[in-house]
């Protein structure tokens, strides 16, 4: 196992590479979810404002 982690002495280059790959792609996959929430919240806000403008 420690042999595997050592990566033949190149651990300092191999593991950060894979970490960057995962962090960037995970962040990129989460970003659309946050964006979706923002969009839906702003649409809800717009609907609420329209309702307030014309009292029933």
């Amino acid at each position: 196992m420690s042999d595997f982690l050592a990566m033949g002495g190149y651990a300092a280059y191999v593991w950060p590479s894979f970490a960057v790959f995962f962090i960037v792609l995970a962040f990129e996959a989460l970003a659309p979810r946050a964006q979706r929430k923002r969009i839906l919240a702003s649409i809800r806000g717009r609907i609420r404002r329209e309702r307030d403008r014309k009292p029933t």
Binding site: Y10, V14, F21, E28
Partner: protein, 255 residues
């Protein structure tokens, strides 16, 4: 209208495209993640060390698929931008803009993993040679497209302007691809080739190709997720979007 045009019209209508994308996206991410995990096991554990580079070469299993995706995403973006500019198809505008962030992400990963691979093999993190510089230009093109898209308020005008920039930037693609042949460079030549024999052992080739497949699926997952958001923004005033918004915070991911 003939059947094909009718079908195209139906798929292109925002509510249908939204629902379809919502159904496909989880599969893209899911299968992409599984294949990526298998490819990692193959690349990090099963594949033998390289006879020259030892274990450092294992960076290839993410560096090369990311580099391929940085070009593929740009092609996909430019093709959609072209369709959007010529035929004014809204869905193409959205698809083009949806592929810019994930393309930029893959380009960034390519540059960073390249630097981490370059340090032990070439003795330097960075050098201003053709392959590295043109890939950096590619990143700036992506950032330019994203920046321009967000700098203009009108979504459709923004998509057209940014799409135009994306089309101009396409001249950079052959430069990235052929740079290792056209100029003297530290960067090694192509290892895997579509035409002619590849210069890689089968035990190393399959994790690489599988990871390439996984990153393609991840790319389309991201594009479709962002396309859904783009469709919501485009039709923000329409009834179908309002009913989705009013379903409340509980309506997380499902269509």
């Amino acid at each position: 209208m003939n059947t094909l045009a009718l079908w195209f019209h139906r798929i292109g209508s925002p509510p249908t495209a939204y629902r379809l994308a919502g159904r496909i996206t989880p599969w893209m991410y899911g299968i992409g993640a599984v294949l990526g995990a298998v490819a990692l096991y193959g690349g990090l554990v099963l594949a033998p060390p390289d006879y020259q580079q030892g274990d450092a070469y294992r960076i290839i299993f993410i560096h090369v698929p990311s580099a391929w995706m940085s070009l593929f995403a740009y092609l996909f973006m430019a093709a959609n931008a072209f369709v959007a500019l010529v035929w004014r198809i809204k869905l193409s505008e959205i698809l083009a803009m949806a592929s810019a962030p994930i393309g930029a992400a893959f380009t960034l990963v390519t540059l960073v993993t390249g630097a981490l691979w370059g340090k032990p093999m070439w003795g330097t993190w960075w050098t201003w040679d053709a392959r590295l510089t043109s890939e950096l230009v590619l990143l700036f093109l992506y950032l330019g497209v994203i920046g321009l898209y967000h700098a203009i308020d009108d979504r459709r005008q923004a998509a057209r302007a940014a799409g135009f920039l994306a089309l101009i930037g396409i001249v950079n693609l052959p430069i990235v691809h052929f740079s290792v042949n056209w100029w003297n460079t530290l960067h090694q030549g192509s290892t895997v080739r579509l035409l002619g024999p590849s210069k890689i052992d089968a035990a190393m080739a399959w994790p690489l190709l599988l990871m390439a497949l996984a990153t393609h699926l991840w790319f389309f997952g991201s594009v479709l997720a962002r396309t859904r958001n783009g469709l919501l923004e485009l039709d923000a005033g329409k009834e179908w979007v309002r009913s989705i918004a009013l379903q409340g915070e509980s309506a997380g991911g499902s269509a």
